[in-house]
């Protein structure tokens, strides 16, 4: 079979790390350690190919990978680039067949880089797609789950050599519960290969060309930084995004419930937003933003809180009192905004009794 797949230059992976962190919408974990792993792999002569999802044959097998666990643990038990490849190999042994390619579960955060590490060790290409188009906290919050595709099996590996298969579950939510338990038991960090997908499923239900999109965002930020131009304006122009708010973080309230980081950040307005206040609620990722008590952006629209000067993303775990930030909204993939999609990832899926209306559906109220 001849398939067009282009090599990803290392400079694009540098851009991917910045773009993916922005698409992480506050969660997903920093891509920095993944980037370091890729620098080493390329320094040793490795290279990764990126293929278009529409070049997949309908019966190709595609591995969907992600690192699972607490970002804090990942800061100590540093990611070994081979562990994610082992998760894929465990699945290949279990299923008795080889994968044609590997793809990311979520393009937002560190999981944007995981398939590149797996691909480098396995010698197969990365599919230019994911199934979130951003980051989300739970297993049922994917386009594959929205499409009611089969949630099992799942393979899991930790760096010590612990291995597990979740052979069968009845729902995506059960997959979330069972796999989370195993992950916590091995130290709250593990590499996983999710339920394998066929080429046809990826073409029908995948969120396409998101690796290219993240690289583009990162490149726009880096070029603006080099030219001493406004990197936030560059992101908005590149993605058709909206500048929602500018201000200083005046309070961050965090609490852990059911194993997630939940809370609210309060931002006092500066510049054109002086006198106004924005509150943003999060469950690992930013979920709903209110301006003076009125909801203005809600999930699945992407809410990104960025360093006002560098344009780089700030995570919900690292946001701190006093930081100067820009809040921007980026458009969500259409599949997330369908009625079935909103059941999985709309405001009510996060416990907010708010009707979803995209901030991109009409001009933002109160903005010139």
């Amino acid at each position: 079979m001849t398939v067009t797949a282009r090599p990803i230059p290392l400079d694009d992976i540098e851009s991917l790390a910045i773009g993916a962190w922005i698409l992480g919408t506050g969660g997903g974990g920093s891509p920095y350690l993944g980037l370091l792993n890729m620098r080493r792999i390329y320094a040793d002569g490795g290279q990764v190919l990126l293929m278009d999802p529409f070049d997949l044959a309908d019966d190709d097998d595609v591995a969907v990978v992600s690192n699972m666990g607490a970002p804090l643990v990942g800061q100590e038990r540093l990611t070994d680039s081979r562990t994610i490849a082992r998760a894929v190999e465990i699945m290949e042994r279990y299923q008795g067949r080889r994968f044609r390619a590997v793809m990311s579960l979520e393009i937002g955060g560190g999981n944007a880089i995981q398939p590149l590490m797996a691909a480098a060790h396995l010698g197969i290409p990365v599919v230019d797609a994911d199934c979130m188009g951003r980051a989300f906290p739970e297993a049922q919050m994917t386009s594959f789950a929205i499409g009611d595709l089969q949630p099992w099996p799942l393979s899991l590996a930790d760096c010590r050599g612990e291995e597990a298969i979740v052979a069968r579950v009845t729902t995506w939510k059960w997959m979330e519960r069972v796999s989370r338990k195993i992950c916590v038991e091995v130290g709250s960090v593990a590499s996983t290969c999710k339920a394998p997908r066929t080429g046809a499923e990826v073409k029908r239900w995948g969120i396409h060309h998101t690796t290219t999109k993240a690289i583009g965002i990162g490149r726009a930020v880096r070029e603006a930084q080099r030219r001493h131009a406004d990197p936030i304006a560059a992101i908005l122009e590149h993605e058709g995004g909206l500048r929602i708010f500018a201000g200083k973080v005046s309070d961050v309230a965090r609490r852990t419930t059911e194993g997630f980081l939940r809370g609210t950040a309060t931002i006092e307005g500066l510049d054109g937003d002086r006198g106004a206040r924005m509150e943003i609620a999060f469950q690992n990722e930013w979920a709903v933003a209110w301006r003076d008590g009125v909801p203005v952006v809600t999930t699945p629209d992407l809410i990104c809180v960025l360093n006002a000067v560098t344009g780089e993303a700030i995570g919900t775990e690292t946001l701190r009192y006093g930081q100067r930030v820009a809040v921007v909204a980026l458009p969500a993939p259409p599949v997330l905004m369908t009625p079935k999609g909103l059941e999985h990832v709309g405001p009510r899926a996060f416990g907010y009794d708010i009707e979803f209306r995209s901030v991109f559906a009409e001009p933002v109220q109160g903005q010139a």
Binding site: L36, A70, L72, F260, L261
Partner: protein
């Protein structure tokens, strides 16, 4: 208590004597290439005042940029043996993996990675491979390495792997300078390990420099213990600081802000330090500088040092004035002010010339600036005031008005009223605020740890006790300890309501003989 504070800056070495709560004398000397010469000159100048020599001095505190300059310039660094404990995790990201190659080539001696370390909840991650550590130590010894950095996975939670490895290394290299990462940093293995590697690379320089400081003090006739000031505005005994030079990296800026707090008697304020070329703006909380968030790069290496959060802008007493007063800085005549500014017979219009023309400053020959158009004077001051106002607001984290303490030789550029500021405070000895800050430094203790299975109040109480124990071990008087920072972050995905708690306490230096 009588204390001498010394700040070794790029241009000047300032020294002050403080008795109780009053500044007795302050002097300035030129900084010398060897650092020590300037200190000796300053101490000798100070000793010429009878009120300085009348009574003994209890302590000498030195703040210096010597160690950070060594890293930034890649000079005077020694090679290091790097021991990472935590295999099989992180095997593809070995020590030095994110260092700039040139600096890594200077510092990297031997690298060894072995099994061991802990999990976030204190369970062992892997059994400690003592045989592999002994083999690594022999390899370091064979390579002639005298400095070793040890970093273990989750050492801030449980340091036992690092301390045990340090003992094994000392068996093989009895005179080794061993740095354990848990003594320097928080959660974040790579950044903490980088700090340990950098610290080990400064081992020889630190030993020589501290010995030279002590020699300078002995030569000046003083008989007082020597302390080195740290990034966070506290001090360590020189003997201890010699082992942890990285903790004194940013002490100059910190001392300036702490000195401003002391001289003004205000603990919560914005501080603006206007020098000749740049202006530093920071915020005091409880008398200490607010710290920068997260990662700080030093010489291109990511670390998690405790550094003050400062905004530096190109405005100072030597700033060029262009465009009829509409453009001020960032270019500056710097230390050439006394030859290039109009008031000193030069040909460059500077902010100092404008200030003299406006009657804000008495410096040089004011007849040389009599002909400056008053409109230019007005526009220049308006521009400088706007820069001050905008950048003070950038650094301010509260909506409520705060006082602004103006220090430094260029403080005349700070207007009397600033938006968001309750009042502008000017203080005597403001031009030596940095040396004053060194003289009044305290001792701190800090803990950053994950707690599980207890409520928030109990976790904070447990962390506070641990921080207090560390402060006393570092030389603090237990009776004076106060908690100045408490931060807690619940951890996503970890079970049992896991909470990461960071607590910092400070206290006065315990009187001699009490420690």
């Amino acid at each position: 208590m009588r204390r001498i504070g010394i700040d070794v800056g790029g241009t000047n070495t300032d020294a002050v004597l403080i008795a109780g709560n009053a500044v007795v004398r302050s002097v300035k000397a030129a900084t010398t290439a060897d650092v020590t010469g300037g200190i000796l000159t300053a101490l000798q100048a100070l000793s010429r005042f009878p009120e300085v020599t009348a009574q003994p001095v209890d302590a000498v505190m030195i703040g210096t940029t010597h160690f950070i300059n060594a890293v930034v310039q890649g000079r005077h660094l020694n090679r290091v043996g790097a021991l990472r404990i935590g295999l099989p995790s992180g095997a593809t990201l070995p020590p030095f993996c994110d260092w700039p190659p040139a600096l890594a080539d200077l510092v990297r001696g031997e690298v060894a990675m072995v099994e061991g370390g802990h999990d976030y909840d204190g369970r062992p991650f892997m059994p400690l491979d003592r045989a592999a550590i002994a083999a690594a130590a022999r390899r370091f010894a064979d390579a002639g390495l005298k400095a070793v950095a040890i970093a273990a996975v989750f050492a801030p939670i449980d340091p036992s792997c690092e301390t045990e490895a340090a003992a094994i290394v000392r068996d093989a290299i009895p005179d080794a300078a061993v740095t354990c990462s848990h003594e320097l940093g928080r959660i974040g293995l790579l950044e903490r390990e980088n700090a340990a590697l950098m610290n080990a690379a400064l081992a020889e320089l630190a030993r020589e420099t501290v010995a030279a400081f002590e020699a300078a003090i002995a030569e000046s006739g003083l008989q007082a213990p020597l302390y080195i000031t740290q990034n966070d505005g506290t001090v360590m005994l020189a003997a201890h600081a010699m082992r942890q030079p990285v903790l004194s990296f940013a002490s100059g800026a910190t001392n300036s802000m702490r000195g401003a707090a002391f001289l003004s008697g205000i603990a919560d304020a914005m501080v603006i330090d206007v020098g000749g070329t740049t202006t530093d703006i920071g915020q005091l909380r409880h008398g200490f500088p607010r710290e920068a968030n997260g990662v700080v790069e030093v010489g291109g290496v990511r670390t998690l040092f405790r550094m003050p959060d400062l905004l530096s802008i190109g405005l100072g007493g030597g700033s060029h004035v262009e465009a009829g007063g509409d453009a001020v800085g960032p270019l500056s005549v710097g230390h050439r002010l006394t030859s290039e500014a109009l008031i000193f017979g030069g040909s460059r219009l500077t902010t100092s010339d404008v200030a003299v023309a406006a009657g804000l400053l008495d410096l040089g020959d004011r007849t040389r600036v009599a002909a400056i158009d008053p409109a230019v004077v007005a526009r220049t001051l308006a521009r400088a005031h706007a820069m001050v106002e905008e950048n003070v607001d950038r650094m301010k984290t509260d909506a409520a008005p705060l006082p602004l303490i103006a220090v430094g030789g260029g403080a005349f550029l700070v207007p009397e009223t600033v938006a968001g500021i309750s009042r502008v405070v000017r203080v005597p000895h403001g031009d030596c605020a940095n040396a004053v800050g060194a003289a009044i430094a305290q001792v701190s203790g800090e803990i950053d740890q994950v707690f599980q299975g207890m409520g928030r109040a109990d976790a904070v109480a447990a962390a506070t006790t641990l921080a207090q124990e560390r402060a006393v071990a570092a030389g603090a008087d237990a009776a004076t300890l106060q908690t100045i920072e408490v931060e807690d972050i619940p951890l996503a995905y970890l079970p049992g309501n896991a909470l990461r708690v960071r607590v910092r306490v400070v206290g006065d230096i315990a009187a001699a003989g009490a420690a």
